[in-house]
């Protein structure tokens, strides 16, 4: 159990660093989602299932959805191009 816990915690640290380093906002949100999912597993391991349910529903589900919507609103996600972060130079 300890080994699993250590692996999960290392994954958490990697995710947290990757969210801030990543240049692509969409990828950042996806990594953040996986962070929340792993965090909910960690909550179960340290015996707080209440928090695990809430983390899975809010952290991995709703918050990421709101982030996606915000990105769409500020037009950083476009279905056609693969580079959502490009500058607004097109006329």
């Amino acid at each position: 159990m300890t080994i699993i816990m250590v692996i999960l915690l290392i994954f958490l640290v990697i995710c947290a660093v990757a969210v801030s380093i990543n240049k692509n906002l969409l990828n950042s949100i996806l990594i953040f989602m996986s962070y929340s999912l792993v965090m909910s597993v960690v909550w179960i391991i340290i015996e707080s299932p209440d928090l695990a349910i809430t983390e899975a529903a809010v952290g991995a589900g709703v918050t990421s959805l709101l982030f996606f919507l915000t990105l769409k609103k500020i037009q950083k996600i476009s279905p056609d191009s693969d580079l959502p972060d490009e500058e607004e130079d097109h006329e």
Binding site: I53, A57, V62, Q75, P79, E88
Partner: protein, 399 residues
């Protein structure tokens, strides 16, 4: 003793003129003021040349030749690294002084958790001690949290609500053109920009694409492109902003993606299978909050996520049949006020919050533990409504 005035003197006085003006017999300004006929004021148009704009933009972002920019950039990098390192060092230093988790001698193990653990079941009647804590011992905290959610929705409404109702838009577009019905799904986005496009496109449609009756999406995009052309051609002076935005709009393809919402068959089939299970699980989590892990907040979040899935699959038309702004206001306000009334009885009974008027019942039964079950339902309602309201407000700028 009153003095009788002469008629002529009275006619010069203010009350006489005022009464005549009031009755409409005479305009006090005609004949007394010098007047000029009004000249229609020229609208102050900014004369932007697009090449000027590009030049300014290019020069202001020229990193290589801007010494100040470079200096500030270096300063920014160095200071950010310094501040981050200092903060991390401080936090790690503080954490190293914390006692290890789970020790018996920790300061957190005082009489409060002891009371919660030993007497919690007896006093609150909730098998799940966490729910017993947050909805009985700490019920006022939870009330504050629910109110925060309500206030947050109010703030999002203030910022994002566009205030354009769907019915008004529909009638306005019906008036403008024939064959506009096929474009309603594009204009249902709620996005003000795409609305603008569709309005302009509908205005120009008669000129541009009278004969062409192609498919839905193609028609929309064609009209928009043509409109941009005419816009920039006719009014170059103000064409910078609108042209920029419209072209960006077309490049991102906003109307096209919005149109596909509610028509994806894969998503619809999956949602048909999953949605009832999600809703049932949410209701189960809420109702079993005092028996099993979970509670109002978790269950409400699950139900809210289910509502979002349903909306994504079937579109806003389906959800608007049962969830409107009126529904949101009614549910949230009634749930919060019930919570408030149910938990403020202690103010009227001598501020002894621990004493329960409602019997606790047998621990483990669904209907037990006094007020915790109704309070859980209240919190769940507020949370689920809030989450769906956030989604709807972010998505279309209205409920």
């Amino acid at each position: 003793m009153s003095r009788k005035r002469e008629e002529k003197e009275y006619q010069k006085s203010f009350p006489y003129r005022f009464s005549r003006w009031l009755k409409g017999e005479e305009d006090p300004f005609i004949g007394r003021l010098e007047m000029k006929p009004q000249v229609p004021r020229e609208s102050p148009e900014r004369h932007f040349d697009p090449s000027d704009y590009e030049d300014i933009k290019r020069r202001s972002r020229d990193h290589a030749h801007n010494k100040r920019w470079q200096g500030y950039g270096k300063l920014y990098q160095v200071s950010s690294v310094f501040i981050c390192t200092a903060l991390i060092a401080l936090l790690v230093y503080a954490v190293s002084y914390l006692p290890p988790v789970g020790e018996t001698g920790n300061p957190a193990n005082n009489e409060v958790p002891e009371r919660y653990i030993t007497k919690g079941l007896e006093e609150t009647g909730a098998v799940n001690i966490v729910t017993g804590m947050i909805l009985n011992y700490r019920a006022f905290d939870t009330f504050g949290e629910s109110t925060v959610l309500f206030v947050a929705t109010g703030c999002v409404m203030l910022i994002l609500m566009t205030g354009k109702s769907r019915g008004k838009r529909g009638t306005a577009e019906e008036g403008t053109g024939n064959g506009m019905a096929e474009r309603t799904s594009i204009t249902d986005t709620g996005d003000s920009m795409s609305e603008k496009i569709s309005a302009e496109a509908s205005g120009k449609r008669g000129i541009l694409a009278e004969g062409s009756r192609s498919r839905r999406t193609e028609a929309g995009i064609q009209i928009s492109v043509g409109t941009v052309g005419i816009e920039t051609g006719n009014r170059v002076s103000m064409g910078i902003e609108t042209g920029n935005q419209i072209s960006k709009e077309i490049e991102t393809g906003e109307p096209k993606t919005e149109e596909t919402v509610g028509t994806d068959p894969i998503l619809q089939v999956i949602a048909k299978l999953v949605c009832p299970a999600v809703f049932l699980f949410g209701i189960y989590v809420i109702l079993n909050g005092h028996l099993s892990p979970g509670g109002g907040f978790s269950g409400g979040a699950i139900i809210g996520a289910g509502l979002i899935l349903y909306t994504n699959a079937y579109g806003f038309e389906k959800t608007e049949r049962f969830f409107t702004k009126k529904t949101y206001t009614g549910i949230s306000v009634s749930a919060l006020s019930f919570y408030c009334l149910a938990k403020s009885y202690s103010f009227f009974t001598g501020a002894n919050h621990m004493e329960n008027m409602i019997p606790n019942g047998t621990p483990g039964a669904i209907i037990s533990s006094g007020l915790i079950l109704p309070l859980n339902i209240c919190v769940g309602l507020v949370v689920s409504c809030t989450i769906y309201a956030f989604y709807a407000l972010f998505r279309k700028g209205g409920l």
